[in-house]
Amino acid sequence: MTEAINTSRPLTRREWLMSDRPQSRTQARLGRAYLVWSRFASNRLAVVGLAIIIALLLVAAFAPLLAPHSPVAGDLRNARLLPPGGDYLLGTDDQGRDILSRLIYGSRLTLYVVILVAIIAAPIGLLVGTIAGYAGGWVDAVLMRITDIFLAFPKLILALAFVAALGPGIENAVIAIAITSWPPYARIARAETLTVRNSDYIAAVRLMGASPTRIVLRHIMPLCLSSLIVRVTLDMAGIILTAAGLGFLGLGAQPPLPEWGAMIASGRRFIMDQWWVAAMPGFAILIVSLGFNLLGDGLRDALDPRGNNQ
Amino acid sequence: MSTMLTVDDLRVTFPTRTGAVNAVRGVSFTLGRERLGIVGESGSGKSQTGRAIMGLTPPHATITAKTLNFDGIDLLETSVKERRALRGNRISMILQDPKYSLNPVMSIGRQIVETLRTHEKVSKREARRRALDMLAAVQIRDPERVYDLHPHEVSGGMGQRAMIAMMLITGPELLIADEPTSALDVTVQLDVLGILDNLVRDRGMGLIFISHDLRLVSSFCDRVIVMYAGRIVEEIAATDLRNAKHPYTQGLLNCMPEIGADRHPLPTLDRKPEWAA
């Protein structure tokens, strides 16, 4: 077998990745990743979504280099409420601050919120869901009723209550959003777990003598992961909106932080005469939300094993 | 014996990410009012042959043939509408698992009536009577009761009988049975085959029986076609199977364990690349 491969012409990179008989762990993994990527890349809108998110990442990373002005210190004397164009590409707000610069710096806050929420909420949901689904019985009942209680409240209202209790601020907004967004993930993870828990391959792992912890962590969780990633990506838009909503209500990021929701809130007063103050951050939210949604849709098509049948 | 179906050089090709896959590569045979078995292992193209005749090939696949003629009708040239009128009326198909081919939310009786009324203008009362007769014809003891049951409420054998009743109610001339008994227990399997045999004989239908089980097919059919890698490797009278010439057919026959034969190890099939050539 190996001889045949050695004597034949060297494989192109694509052939190496698409190989039916990988020679090493790395090749197997990369081959799988390549398959997902090629399915993802064949969806043009998904690539657009990915491009938007990458652009957001780059903007956030190089904010000091990209921003033409300071995001917090404005020129109150000369540059209050200037329309887009000229020195201030997207105009200025009532404090005389450049809106473009504020948006650029605000992307950092948006990413901060989104990433922290994902890091907190997704694992909680995954853990609760898989344990409930695998254990069954009273463990399942207790965990799922707790989940139901969280699901019973409207997200923003619950987040409001938490922020009211914890005090306004971006960290508390993140915690509040995370606490309110894990229950759907738990539901998904549980549903996925229920479909695989009685399968023969999980029975086979049990027959190896593996402990329930090991089965859940190493065999069930990886199977739930792809649908969870898809769901989290699709929820990112909602998270941004909730964060913006809290910011709008004055319970999220506090002035002078350039949080997009708070920017819309402060632009509200001038919406009739100086529309750009509220509209520009609105556009930013729209574009980023769209990016996450497109990315999520693309990931669903690429990761969903049910789409695998040729 | 009059020829009902002529298949000449049938090819079915599926486009995939890694290039075209030729599922059927030049299959030719004719069928009269007889029982023809098509035997092969998974991937031999036997099911795709049946589906192509039935017009159930997935739309992204391409079908070509020199001739694909059913009773004077060119099946490749017919419109979708004509095809639909033909399907279920003059040509019917029974699939492997009744669980997946019966509608789970409709009672068995209603499904049979629906099938009948899509192809024939009959009154509701008449349709019901004929459905009950048909259920009785597939040896369901209490047709009135089974008529109102849903597919999940009956056993596999009963479900497959209901399926046969549904497929035969329109009185088709050609029946394609794709592994009709593989999902059933052996004892039930023979009952179902017995029913099928009676109906085919009494109604003078042509039958294409597709299966992986060479022995079963040879005990049931008049003539057997053996397929390998999308081609016919051998066509032989069922009674003549013991004298099969092709090593693949012989291999298939020999590799099955037999009660009373003490062969350790079992002879295995040594697949030659030239068989698929």
């Binding site: 086979a204 | 037999e258 295995t268």
Partner: protein, 253 residues
């Protein structure tokens, strides 16, 4: 000699459905014992109950003279392993063959992993080129070989086989049956094999038990079955059915 497997009056009940109604059997070391029956006969339930995958409501199971409790220990799984019916459902869809074979070794803390994996693959006739494939890159027969390799890697003394070849093509079935026989000879294993196919069971087993509705119908040796020495009508029906279709003679021609 202590029997490898001794089952006494075993009962299994799923939500009030009695899947197994007091079945007893003994399998001696090195023997190959068959369980035959149609769907719902309880033959697979029996295997699953031994493996700890079905709820035992009454009766006892002994393995190599040790009475099994409600839960199975790690030591039990080093003695008893199982091969499932559906090769498409018994391999984890996101794991390579390498990972599948590694897992039992990791759970039991075996050393010398590299050599063991290669030997296991070699033993089932797959070779190292299959090591890093995912299950969707394998054919049905290859998958079943991987499942056998996984069961053997812990070096059990008893192998439970739940219709190991019923989902495979006839020619592949022959290869897998030959492989199982060879392994049993080489490793002096005890087999308990479930099948709906009388021919397969008589080919593989010395003794067999016919089951129906969760209970024993009769117990036979393979040679008795080969000579058609059966006492029960049900077994006779199975025998007739296994011969294929017999066209009834048409009376009025």
């Amino acid at each position: 000699m202590t029997p490898s497997l001794k089952i006494d009056n075993l009962e299994v009940t799923f939500n009030r459905f009695r899947a197994l109604r007091g079945v007893s059997l003994e399998v001696v070391p090195g023997e190959s014992f068959g369980l035959v029956g149609e769907s719902g006969s309880g033959k697979s339930t029996l295997l699953r109950a031994v493996a700890g995958l079905a709820p035992v409501t009454a009766g006892t199971i002994e393995v190599n003279g040790n009475l099994l409790g409600a839960s199975r220990t790690k030591a039990f799984y080093r003695e008893v392993q199982m091969v499932f019916q559906d090769p498409y459902g018994s391999l984890h869809p996101r794991q390579t063959v390498d990972r599948l074979l590694l897992e039992p070794l990791a759970v039991h803390g075996f050393g010398d992993i590299e050599r063991r994996i290669l030997r296991a693959l070699d033993e089932v006739g797959l070779g190292s080129s299959f090591r890093f494939r995912y299950s969707h890159q394998l054919s049905g027969g290859q998958r079943q070989r991987v499942a056998i390799a996984r069961a053997l890697i812990l070096e059990p003394s008893i192998l439970l086989l739940d219709e190991p070849t019923s989902a495979l093509d006839a020619s592949v079935q022959a290869e897998v049956l030959n492989l199982l026989e060879k392994i049993r000879r080489d490793r002096k294993l005890t087999f308990v094999m479930v099948s709906h196919d009388l021919a397969v069971v008589t080919h593989m087993c010395d003794r067999l038990m016919v089951m129906q509705h969760g209970a024993e119908v009769e117990r036979l040796t393979a040679s008795e079955l080969a000579r058609r020495h059966v006492t029960q009508d049900y077994t006779r029906n199975l025998l007739v059915a296994s011969q294929g279709f017999v066209r009834p003679v048409v009376q009025n021609a």
